[in-house]
Symmetry: C2
Subunit: 461 residues, 2 copies
């Protein structure tokens, strides 16, 4: 974890945003796989990590805004726990490491929250994303479970988003580490794939690298010969000569910070001519987007600039037609780019997605409901300290082609017969991670090989 | 998955155990890590897999005992789902593959359950182990969330336990596969460890092998130089010359069947004399336990036979003292063996642990509350078709030594000064998986190297 002063000053800054009441931070509990004691690897809640740094289950914390104190709630280990799971410092010792001097047993949390409510004080909490947390908050606040989400505090969401959006130097160091491990994962995969290899073997190797580095994956690996499916977690296919392989994966550091990179490469040693055309078009969109990153530039503009490059490139190939402005306005490009060009990244790979994309990516402004644009997670003007991914893609999705053709969607901008010639192409995406600086942006981690030459060299061409 | 007849006949056999009512099987939903859409790798509920075979989230199933029908509830994919996560066959097509011809949208589940309740029919369900399932059952049955667990059906638990306890040939084939991959994981680890290597590197490599084989880990890896902690999931230490390394891990096959093996080996090329003495004592207990496996033999007797070997061996070393019968009755051996000698294994690594160890391992008889014996998961007489692990261990746990010494626990059977000489020794465990046959037992998977010679050879001595 970071030094105790880091957490103390983060809490002080948060506290200064409120006039009174309690701020409630329920830490995460274990997530059972197939029975209560067989659990997925524990993942602490990111906001709890941000303000309280303790990476163990069954903890909670409260900031009392009125008197400025913070309390960590947790129970000491029993001998059974020590025998089975190992020893830990006391709750007081753990809390001390994050600058909290007041600790209480977990059961006292109900008393503290109950007393505050009885005194008419406001108890603010963030929207829960796990059912355990819903049950816990419902119990603490005496709410029906289906009312918990609606009672989350917008004020607290906004305060946390404001703070976590701007990455501090110690966070940037972690994000650089995550990106460095993530580049190693991609290079290993680009080198290892051979015709006949199953996707699962590639997924397994990149996960090995993340775990061996002392962390874990920041999200489930996408390692697929069907890159046209954006978040494809099926790894049962074998790669063949002529396939395009799409890898989207990243490491999370031991402290919880994410990397998120994508690569696309041929299973053969070289790209085919068709593959190279689409691949270089994606790279052109990627580089256009990267060049634009700077304070004050709305990420929505970055997204549309990348989308324009792709629209115009595919218009040259006869797939799209018509006026680019009108086509982009109508969302025609979403046929091949049905998602956004990037998102915030930090302690979460989609940073703070649990707090609501409208707050994280739109500063409270409404999101579009148009297909494609509704999946743009970040639109607001960039600020120094933002960390974002850049990942335009080109995807040929047979089911989407068939649906739009049958509905006549954007028919004035799409030559469906020409598009159908690309039906079995798959998908292409590169993705890099950038820190917005005072005068532009800098890439996190080392260069990821991604020109055609670099890729073909790694593939042994 | 298996052929549709397998699932149909499993359901027919279950249905025959009841006179009427509905049997409700809520499939699992996704488990979020740090926000709703960033999930751990999906794990279906094992009982749902057993009767309905469908390994996707957001499904449920009902068996109507009165008319003998089975219904799968689920929703068809939207274009958004297809674009992001990929396509799947329709619900009807998926259900057909497991022999179910009746399918309905997920929202209809509430109507079906509601109509049955209104007609005064019994709706039986199993104890939930995930908060999502608690919320779902509470909603379906109109129960307060804290009453759900208590309303689970003992009749249904017993019927499912009876059926799942006896492994069919197609299940044994899967369990052999799981054990084979698990042995490969152990051999790789025994070969790779070197002084200076971090535990995380070993954990990462064995997980890689499980995932590359098309499955996953059956439980979180234990890979540690502190084998005295039974389920040690901390992997931050570096191994040093002179350390003992304990590995407990297993593969789960793509169909969900578990392997579970343990190995202990020196980080140096050879065991020290002290290590060899304890290691061979564990192996003697292991072999004694394995020899006893046969139908009709209570696993409690197997546990006590292994415990006796360990007690007597450590008595020869001066650690224990006194009469073995009395010491075992008093639970003195739990100082170094605070857990059981094995457990059932199948679709869960601790098979059906969510249904209650009293039903799975004790046939409804009460469990002991004595320290150590309370952690014996399996005591009942073995039957042909049971699959069990055999894993006696010897653990020197400083905190437990200090506690018992301070309390005088079992002081007549323990020389605490002599025991303290072993304070920093660590722990030793081997573990193998066995199928109980009509006249004995056979090991699942290939031989795992575990004699001192075999281990030292793999270590390059």
């Amino acid at each position: 974890m970071f030094g105790s002063d880091v957490y103390a000053s983060r809490r002080a800054r948060l506290t200064s945003r409120f006039d009174g009441g309690l701020l409630l931070f329920p830490g995460n509990v274990e997530s059972p796989m197939n029975y209560a004691d067989n659990c997925f690897r524990f993942r602490q809640d990111s906001t709890f990590l941000y303000y309280f740094g303790l990476d163990q289950p069954d903890l909670a914390a409260v900031i009392d805004v009125d008197d400025g104190t913070a309390t960590v709630f947790g129970d000491e280990l029993t001998i059974d726990h020590i025998v089975w799971m190992g020893d830990l410092p006391t709750i007081a010792e753990r809390a001390q490491r994050v600058g909290v001097s007041d600790t209480r047993p977990l059961a006292a949390l109900g008393d503290v929250v109950g007393a505050a409510l009885a005194a008419g004080r406001r108890v603010r909490f963030l929207p829960p994303y796990r059912a355990d947390t819903v049950l816990r908050i419902a119990g603490l606040l005496g709410l029906p479970t289906d009312e918990v989400a609606g009672r989350a505090s917008i004020d607290l969401i906004r305060a946390v988003v404001d703070q976590r959006s701007i990455k501090a130097p110690e966070e940037i160091e972690e994000l650089d580490k995550a990106a460095t491990t993530s580049v190693a994962m991609h290079e290993a995969a680009i080198r290892m794939v051979k015709p006949g290899m199953r996707e699962a073997e590639v997924a397994a190797e990149v996960e090995r690298i993340a775990v061996a580095a002392g962390g874990r994956l920041s999200f489930p690996v996408i390692a697929t010969i069907h890159g046209e499916t954006l978040h494809n977690h099926v790894h049962t296919n074998a790669a063949s000569d002529g396939d395009l392989f799409l890898l989207d994966c990243g490491a999370e550091t031991a402290l919880g910070y994410a990397g998120d990179l994508s690569s696309t490469f041929p299973v053969s040693r070289r790209f085919t001519d068709r593959q190279r055309v689409i691949y270089e078009l994606q790279l052109a969109a990627q580089n256009t987007a990267v060049q634009m990153l700077a304070p004050g530039v709305p990420f929505r503009d970055v997204h549309f600039a990348a989308s324009r490059v792709i629209f115009e490139g595919l218009r040259d190939l006869g797939i799209f037609k018509g006026n680019a402005d009108e086509a982009l306005e109508a969302g025609a490009h979403a046929m091949v780019l049905p998602c956004g060009t990037g998102h915030m990244m930090g302690l979460d790979v989609h940073d703070m997605e649990n707090l609501g994309e409208v707050w994280v990516g739109y500063d409270g402004q409404p999101k579009s409901t148009q297909f494609g644009l509704k999946s743009l997670r970040l639109a607001r003007p960039l600020e120094p300290g933002f960390v974002v991914t850049v990942e335009p893609g080109i995807y040929f999705i047979p089911q989407l082609m068939d649906l739009w053709r049958s509905q006549g969607t954007c028919a004035q901008f799409i030559d469906f017969d020409e598009l159908d010639e690309w039906r079995d192409f798959g998908g292409v995406r590169n993705e890099e991670d950038y820190l917005v600086t005072t005068d532009g942006a800098r890439r996190l981690g080392p260069h990821k090989p991604q020109t055609v030459d670099e890729i073909e060299r790694l593939r042994g061409a």
